[in-house]
Symmetry: C2
Subunit: 340 residues, 2 copies
DNA sequence: CTGTTAGCGCGTTCAA
DNA sequence: TTGAACGCGCTAACAG
């Protein structure tokens, strides 16, 4: 005996605007006008409240898909995360950015994971974002495909190849390097070292920071920094420290706090003392920085301000207006502790 | 003189399946069948290649919005991030999870940012995800609203209130605690301390870990751990260390590596020695752990395996099948260094 | 076997 | 305030 099961199944009924219209005794158009407060439409207070009431009673939430289909773009901003491990700073920046964008009705989502996994195509195909923010820049083809797919704006935070378009975060990163060097050079050091990260994926971040250090050295008529690639390992870092010593370096700027911690470990490993024999300054102020021996001097970025800047850039571009000015160095703060 | 400007404007033409159909000289239905390799449809090789060719030439990408509207759900899995700072471990887990889900045609996106910003409603309204993964659990109302809105599955990793549904990550976290305690208890220690984090938002994570330590102590007929809340500050941590000393504690399990680092700093601050006076074991194996003085012994989780487990849970649930078994303790690895 | 026609899903918006 | 059409892809039903 065959039974029509389907009729027995409780179908999951999404509440649609038609349901609201029915309950309120108006047309779907009216519902739309009321809920969107469409300008240029006059709706009687009475009708308005009936609609609002019905919507609330039914727990109506408009379908994002339908809206996106009609409008041509969603209210989502997609951030493509880099494939290297992100620290708490990036996390905090994303949180701030999310908050800032929310004030403009935009929802930030981040996509983790290696670009290798799937062609990025797959990703915005599934999202239809209004804008895409990426750490590294895209290829011509990728950008073209995105625009073809309806993405309004593509922002690259950094670039790898020759310059092509703005890289919104390069300048701030350079400022970070400048600040490190400036602190060291104004506290009596004359020969600097630079502790470069051992991970190739960090180059897009590391290069602008190093460039900032170089620029500051140049401006103060000092030799450029002696660069060492420092692995996150005490013994290997010790070898770098010995080389710096031999070169007369008395202070080093590290790519970030982790690398700085490695340098500190190297210093201990050599039986030397920081900052006495070698001063060290990091970047980020991660929690372990203040717990190191000696406590790490470091440089931080005002993530809330950065997020505000990025948010303004995105919102302006979606609206077709020019973006805000690049933020200044007030963003960068020195956290002075014991290591430099 | 009024001019119809609109006709002069270059409209951004999204490539649609109709365009592909036109170029290939077939109907839109055929395009759909070819591109989706719809089973039960036989299309001649010739037609097929013409369609494929046309699609490629035009750079056609189907509209996610239209598809989602038709299918009723998107291919997106939404992960709601907690409002506390996420470390690299969470980041790595998300990356792995993203990869694992991609193999099933699902795209993972994460939404950072405080739930306070916007009611979470706003978020999945903008995404229509197939599933939602959250760190803390939802209220009844939230779950109901999501289901009403078409979300297939809601997974809570941890719970705050009384048990309600599975919490996929509680057991693994308990195993972490057990492993820490087991290592300490099998290396001659008989009185343990527990370094609890100073941040209330971490409770959902900390409680299961502490429960694991307690369970292990109980099984080995030892007193439960002496709990201290340890701020990330050397001086304050030192006070905790002194209290532990007074209580006869010789080894402590820390909530994570950062707290462990604080304990280590406290030990140094007291003029004591680790592990001689106090052994310390952390969780996570963050990069600074191996660079600490002394190098930190810690416990790690196999994030790839965790991600696989989570992925399997999500995929199974979307397909209406029961989820996989909870992973065993092979997930947890001890990284033995100098501090314990 | 091959491929087409037609209508749905849902919010928005123009013309009446 | 409303009817009706639109945006775009999917798929049941159907014709050659």
């Amino acid at each position: 005996m065959v039974t029509r099961v389907s009729s027995l199944v409780t179908v999951k009924n999404r509440v649609t605007s038609a349901d609201v219209a029915r309950l309120a005794g108006v047309s779907r158009a009216t519902v739309s006008y009321v809920l969107n407060q469409t300008p240029g439409q006059t709706i009687s207070t009475d009708t308005r409240s009936r609609v609002l009431d019905a919507a609330a009673r039914l727990g109506y939430a408009p379908s994002a898909a339908a809206r996106a289909l009609r409008i041509g773009r969603s209210e989502v901003v997609l951030c493509l995360l880099p494939d290297w491990p992100i620290g708490p700073e990036v996390g905090s920046m994303l949180g701030n950015l999310s908050t800032a964008l929310a004030r403009h009705g935009l929802t930030l989502v981040a996509h983790p994971g290696n670009r290798e996994d799937r062609p990025i195509t797959e990703i915005w195909k599934a999202i239809t974002p209004a804008a895409v923010i990426a750490f590294a820049d895209f290829s011509e083809g990728e950008v073209a495909a995105m625009h073809a797919s309806g993405v309004e704006l593509v922002v690259a935070l950094f670039g790898r190849g020759p310059r092509r378009g703005r890289r919104e975060l390069e300048v701030p990163q350079q400022l970070v390097g400048r600040r490190q060097a400036a602190h060291l050079l104004t506290t009596g050091h004359t020969r600097l070292g630079y502790a470069y990260p051992d991970d190739d994926r960090l180059r897009i971040f590391a290069e602008p920071r190093l460039a900032g250090v170089r620029a500051e050295c140049q401006e103060r008529a000092t030799d450029g920094p002696a660069i060492e690639t420092v692995p996150l390992d005490a013994a290997q870092a010790a070898a770098c420290v010995r080389r710096w010593q031999a070169a007369g370096v008395t202070a080093v700027c590290a790519y970030n706090d982790e690398v700085a911690l490695a340098v500190l470990a190297g210093v201990r490993n050599c039986g030397l003392d920081a900052p006495g024999d070698l001063a060290v300054i990091g970047v980020d102020d991660i929690p372990p920085a203040r717990l190191a021996a000696p406590a790490l001097t470091t440089v931080t970025t005002d993530q809330a301000a950065m997020a505000a800047y990025l948010s303004a850039t995105v919102v302006a571009a979606i609206g077709g207006k020019p973006g805000p000015a690049v933020p200044t160095e007030t963003l960068i703060q020195l956290v002075r502790r014991e290591s430099a």
